[in-house]
Symmetry: C2
Subunit: 154 residues, 2 copies
Amino acid sequence: MDHIDRALLVQLQQDATQSYAALGEAAGLSAGAAHERVRKLRARDVIRRTTVDVDPAAVGAGVLAYVMVDSAAWMGDSGADFAAIPEILEAHIIAGSASVLVKVRTATTEQLQDVLRRIYAIDGVSGTQATVALETFFERPVSPHAGDFSSPQP
Amino acid sequence: MDHIDRALLVQLQQDATQSYAALGEAAGLSAGAAHERVRKLRARDVIRRTTVDVDPAAVGAGVLAYVMVDSAAWMGDSGADFAAIPEILEAHIIAGSASVLVKVRTATTEQLQDVLRRIYAIDGVSGTQATVALETFFERPVSPHAGDFSSPQP
DNA sequence: GCTCCTCACTGAACGGCATTCGGTTCGATG
DNA sequence: CATCGAACCGAATGCCGTTCAGTGAGGAGC
């Protein structure tokens, strides 16, 4: 994981369809070398997968909400219960008053209500508190330079 | 946007490196037809871009937190201020007591604190409330079938 | 200091697949 | 019924992903 790997990751995050020749040029490498480095990044699971960004509104998921889930019991083994609800895009155990935080996308607020109903049905859930997003400023992938931000440049 | 387009989107979300021949087979199409449909999905911005999923921990961003940002003023024009902080991955205007919700990834909790300091420095921000994720159950892309979930099948 | 080994890169060659295009079918429109 | 357009198939072309032999730098061992 040196600065060349990070440059490759940045390039691939921006556009994973570009040729290895262009990728290598951006990182100061030949196409073969770029290919080899990317292959290793995949093998090490630094690159988990290559995927496409889909416009949520275009597939009927224009409503975005975050839901704090309160519980009466330990929720550490309930991951599958949340994963079974397809409208839930993320689920995290959190520190604080609630115990689980989930990110939900639905087509309408009625469907959001239905998702809340299904969350209530999960064992141990004692309450929810939903927060609806009115406007999204931006959503972007994690920066491969995250580690650099507070350490002095070498 | 018919069921074939949705099948293509699902396939591409799972693995955008597969050949158009495989893609077409999964959707009951020839390679040429699959290519043409995907081209149109890109042109319509249903597919925003092709990218790679990077392991946050591998690039020094192992700490995940959600921050509720309270403000004294209207924050609708402050998107750029949040975007200027690279550790912020998402920023949304929300309904409710706080006015902005941001998703943050950093290497350490010390760096998280530094991000909070920079958020405080944004014009109009009057307070923050951070929630740290202890464990992530899952993170996944939006389902192209979201619209189907509560409407009867046609 | 010298040699050996490993690792990463270059440049070229091969083959697969992305991309394009002509022809066909089907449905809608007038 | 005739015309038009949209969508698909199958094949051809050429680009580019993938592999490989060769080269050089760096480190370990003696």
